[in-house]
Symmetry: C2
Subunit: 356 residues, 2 copies
């Protein structure tokens, strides 16, 4: 039986990916020199397609790293000399905070319980951190932060750089990039691609910060410091031999999504999310983990299963649908259903039918 | 016309790779959870197959990173508090040295001209570096170092860790891993795979060194520090979502090479190298760049073209064979011919015929 993965990522491949891989093999994409014009054309096509899809301003740079986890690592290395500030409401926000600690930064956190969000009106960030980190869509809990709250954070802390984790909300989430400094995601979630590529979006302030740290003889890393990444990016190249196939496939998926229309994808994502939340809100056994509707992610839907996790997963896998377990301490009590562009509304109806 | 890439890497895909990719797509390798038993089985299979192929002792750990360049970065971060020592005879040895400088280490180098190797009998390494770095096969120049010289280095400097770059010599080069501490390569060279995966082999001394640095509150990096890599590796897992497809394909290629026999691969590599060197030694126009026969790499063959580079590349590409240009300052005057397991002797004869 054909399996369909509704997991938070790695997830179902975008349907055209198999064909794109055949095209890549036919056109020797995995054998071309990464300093050649052929590669530079692929690189440029991917950057242009991604900027169009996500409406990223021209003056923002896009760097290809190997994972979202690496993005966290490089952001901290390049944007923080001493102080970072972290909004922590789940395992991935915690990972960002822990990264800063591991890199010997003076990292502060504001922490809420899993499943909760923040009361942005009462938060005052003291001590002028160089970088504020916030997880716009927390993959472990299914809590999403309204971008407006993020823009306000930046407005109230104009001297701090602001980095956002959109790992499981891109390309759905509609970000005004002029109101943040840095964002990142990986491709095995909403872009439906094989894992092994992280995408980091930065403005010139992040690069200037890295340069100022370098000028002070501060360690900003080696081949993947922002200066080196930028020097290569402007030439449509990378410092090291990159995941060429991943970059190629990302460009092809972005082209397909652009053709389909990002507005349509956003509307469909909302519709599928509403179907699922409505169903579980009205279900006697299983309930959405996030009670506050304004905090609910549209792309990662956590469901409390009353210890019926195995039963649910089994009845869905019997019809070929694979959903995720909860994450970390929620591992055994919850399921997580992803809602990405490749997930079809017909399959959402099948999930609902089986669990009814 | 079908193209065959004799480039130093990315290079020709190993012939079975296209089928392995189809199998991976059929078996949902790109969609499975990277914490699942399915993934752990793939991981273990790849590690076991690679250890068998390269004869890596059981007590050595293998970490999956994203490139050989990342391997350099993480080795310096985790094995050097202050002092490293570098044998520099080309662009990639220089990259290793530069990595240490960028990470603010007190890095010393012994440097020889491009195309030369070292006089190992006269070298005395002073100041007890914590790490000695040597490029066993320098991809930019085609100089290879006899492993016996490397083992002697370790014997004469037992207190230093020894790291070797085997990026373009693995799996051909026969290393006695008990006589070194650390080695690394990337898969888009001798393993004929898509780029995006670096493989780092370390013994327990490297991990102990990282632990001792950590105990001193020294920055050894975040998610890819050796402690975190090791904690996950023993569970057949990775810290972040890795390049799952790359790990899967590496296992399949290692299995294929094991079945074919590494001894046979080594004999064939020698034979193909001898054919090429003999031809160019007897050619009036083009000469092997490396004069000293003992220093010649069997896997990267640099040829001085007397400014006929374009002509040579053109006549070869006319029959579908793509060779590399020289590297860095040798870019325009040389060609580089790779000689990896997937490169067939029939095609070597075709190269010779066309250039005769």
């Amino acid at each position: 039986m054909k399996k369909t993965f509704f997991t938070p990522g790695p997830t179902e491949l975008y349907p055209d990916v198999k064909n794109f891989i055949q095209e890549a093999l036919r056109d020797n994409v995995c054998s071309i020199n990464h300093r050649s014009k052929e590669f530079m054309d692929i690189y440029k096509f991917t950057i242009d397609s991604l900027k169009q899809l996500l409406n990223i301003p021209d003056n923002y740079s896009i760097f290809f790293l190997s994972s979202a986890t690496e993005c966290m690592d490089r952001i901290i290395q390049n944007c923080v000399e001493e102080k970072s500030f972290h909004f922590v409401n789940g395992a991935f926000a915690e990972r960002f905070y822990k990264t800063a600690i591991e890199l010997n930064k003076n990292a502060e956190e504001i922490k809420v319980e899993y499943g909760q969000s923040f009361n942005f009106y009462n938060i005052e960030i003291k001590n002028s951190p160089e970088l504020i980190c916030i997880t716009q869509n927390e993959t472990s809990t299914g809590v999403a932060v309204n971008p407006e709250n993020i823009y306000n954070l930046k407005k109230n802390n104009p001297e701090s750089l602001l980095a956002i984790d959109i790992v499981t909300s891109a390309p759905y989430v509609n970000i005004d990039y002029t109101k943040i400094d840095c964002a990142f995601f990986s491709v095995q979630k909403g872009f439906g691609l094989p894992a092994g590529l992280g995408v980091l979006i930065v403005n010139e302030k992040c690069i200037e910060k890295a340069q100022s740290l370098k000028n002070k003889n501060h360690n900003i890393g080696s081949y993947h410091n922002f200066i080196s990444l930028q020097e290569n990016a402007v030439k449509y190249q990378t410092t090291e031999t990159p995941n060429v196939l991943g970059i190629y496939l990302l460009g092809k998926v972005c082209e397909t999504l652009n053709r389909y229309g990002i507005d349509k994808i956003r509307i469909e994502t909302d519709e599928k999310a509403n179907l699922l939340y409505n169903f579980f809100d009205n279900n006697k056994l299983y309930k959405p983990f996030i009670e506050n509707i304004a905090d609910r992610s549209k792309t990662i839907i956590n469901i409390e299963t009353e210890n019926k996790q195995n039963e649910i997963k089994k009845s869905l896998s019997d019809i070929g649908i694979i959903v995720g377990s909860g994450y970390g301490k929620l591992k055994d009590s919850q399921i997580r259903i992803a809602n990405f562009p490749m997930h079809r509304v017909e399959d959402v109806y099948r999930i609902i039918e089986v669990l009814s």
